[in-house]
């Protein structure tokens, strides 16, 4: 969090993450981005730009980049209809079954640390097919064996209506993909500088790991150019400080 600047000599972490997320959004028609999500928001806008608008980005808090206009309930209604293809969630804690905790650590309701609250997670995690978990802080504090409070469960027993669920988990060290069948994360790629050992040391849950886990693909050069021009300008409407400090936007 708050890390800024050059990275691996060639591109920044922001550029890498934005591109990695954008790749996961391929084929999505409607991509919704919630509060406090400048990197996912940039990725959604990048995908919108790359597809000429076939992928539509809905940035919460934006007046311009929002294909909905009907106030608060609308995003949830559209998600309930299956009209939202991708969404992003974070978590004060995330565990190995992809349960997420946005409420508190320790006992409930008088906790050790209180987080803001579950927001729409308990609904959107069920209704959006491709939910991408995004949490930059990669630590055992965040990635726990079992969350203290389930804001939204990573999976549901048979018989529970659930067209949606977790697709991937992106951190400052690596990308995991979620295996719905086995209800486990599988390491998919390491960010530059990160090692498998470092991931293991900082992850409180068990995960699958292929023998040949490699680096996350570097950002496409033409995408980088787009990020620092059109995307930076577009995201600056909603996240001016992010655009200025982390995408070097001078506009």
């Amino acid at each position: 969090m708050g890390y800024t600047g050059e990275y691996a000599g060639e591109y920044t972490r922001e550029e890498l993450l934005i591109c990695a997320i954008a790749r996961m959004l391929e084929g999505c028609r409607n991509i919704a981005v919630g509060t406090a999500s400048p990197i996912p928001g940039s990725a959604a806008l990048l995908m919108q730009a790359l597809t000429g608008g076939t992928s539509r980005a809905s940035i919460l808090g934006s007046n311009i980049h929002n294909p909905f206009n009907d106030g608060g309930p609308e995003l949830f209604d559209r998600a309930g209809q299956g009209r939202v293809d991708a969404f992003f969630l974070g978590g004060g804690q995330i565990d190995g079954e992809a349960n997420i905790n946005l409420v508190s650590t320790g006992p409930y309701p008088e906790p050790d640390t209180r987080f803001p609250g579950s927001f729409g997670s308990a609904y959107l995690y069920f209704s959006v097919p491709r939910v991408i978990l995004f949490r930059e802080e990669h630590s055992r504090r965040v990635f726990v064996d079992k969350v203290d409070f389930i804001s939204a469960p990573g999976w549901s027993p048979p018989g529970v209506h659930r067209p949606g669920g977790p697709h991937a988990l992106i951190t400052s060290l690596c990308i995991f993909l979620y295996d719905k069948e086995h209800r486990r994360f599988r390491l998919d790629g390491l960010l530059p500088g990160a090692t498998l050992e470092q991931v293991r040391d900082n992850t409180g849950f068990d995960f699958d790991c292929p023998d040949d886990v490699g680096p996350v693909a570097p950002p496409e050069p033409d995408w980088i150019a787009l990020i620092h021009s059109r995307i930076a300008e577009e995201i600056s409407e909603t996240y001016p400080e992010f655009a200025r400090n982390r995408l070097d936007w001078q506009g």
Binding site: G71, P73, P116, S118, G120, A122, Y123, Y125, I150
Partner: protein, 277 residues
């Protein structure tokens, strides 16, 4: 245009919101009646029960910090990019307020049921969460339309706030207020037993007779009293009118991190406000 004669003041609105009331308030960009919020603190309101539609930021935090709130039903209280909500966090960790953790569409559903006079509304999702586990007032039934049984679904009970409170862009002298596309305010007004609104500007004419304004207008049948409060959402934003006062919000978060700093903030920006204004 002058303030209409039948308008009251923000402080009068605060005095008409009784201690113990269940108050429905919109999210940060929905038009937050911060002027009345400060007036509630000034009048020493107690045991308010807040229902945030569906989340809140400084409004909930400052009311909680000032000791006005005994209970909150919310999907989240956060200062957004300025960090966590200090008074909210402190109060919950200390067990000073009762929590009714919810999830956004469940709060809409509770109000939509009230809007319709229905006893409940169904909502997909939520099953298996601890949000549901801690809500004895929410029920799960098997979807009666599912072939072969099974298919559990959550039912949310109707919740009717005693008071809806928000800040709107325009009010006219006929008692209409205009919230534009902020349908959460329309929902709040429809769902609540009474509605108090502060308005940023006075609209010259009748909002109900203006074809283009009609869709965003809440008529007087739902509005109990209106106050004229210029910059009434400050330091929060009002859509297409003014943005957040980021510097002030940053200072607020810093101050509110300690009870002493928060007390100083109140002294300077809430209790002193009437003299300044």
């Amino acid at each position: 245009m002058d303030t209409p004669e039948n308008y009251i003041s923000a402080d009068e609105i605060a005095s008409r919101i009784p201690d113990g009331a269940l108050i429905g308030v919109p999210k940060e960009d929905g038009g937050v009646a911060m002027e009345v919020t400060r007036a509630l603190i000034r009048r020493g309101a107690r045991n308010l029960r807040l229902l945030t539609v569906p989340v809140s930021s400084m409004q909930a935090d400052i009311l909680i910090g000032a000791g006005c709130v005994s209970e909150i039903e919310t999907s989240g209280v956060s200062m957004g990019e300025f960090g966590y909500a200090p008074c909210f966090r402190r109060a919950v960790q200390d067990g000073a307020i009762a929590m009714r953790d919810a999830t956004c569409p469940a709060l809409y559903a509770e109000l939509q049921a009230s809007e319709k006079g229905s006893p409940f509304q169904p909502l997909r999702g939520i099953i298996g969460s601890d949000v549901l586990a801690h809500r004895a007032d929410w029920k799960v039934i098997d979807n009666p339309f599912a072939e072969g049984g099974g298919d559990p679904i959550v039912l949310l009970p109707a919740v009717r706030p005693d008071v809806a409170l928000f800040h709107a862009r325009y009010g006219d002298r006929h008692g209409n207020v205009w919230v534009g596309p902020k349908r959460e305010c329309v929902l709040l007004a429809h769902a609540s037993a009474s509605t108090f609104v502060t308005v940023e500007e006075i609209w010259d004419g009748n909002l109900m007779e203006d074809d283009r304004m009609l869709a965003g207008t809440i008529p007087p049948v739902y509005v109990d009293a209106v106050a004229h409060a210029k910059r009434g959402a400050w330091p929060l934003s009002l859509a297409n009118c003014y943005g957040r006062d980021c510097e002030h919000l940053r200072d607020y978060v810093k101050a509110a991190k300690s009870p002493e700093g928060f007390a100083d903030y109140l002294k300077q920006h809430v209790h002193a406000e009437q003299a300044v204004a």
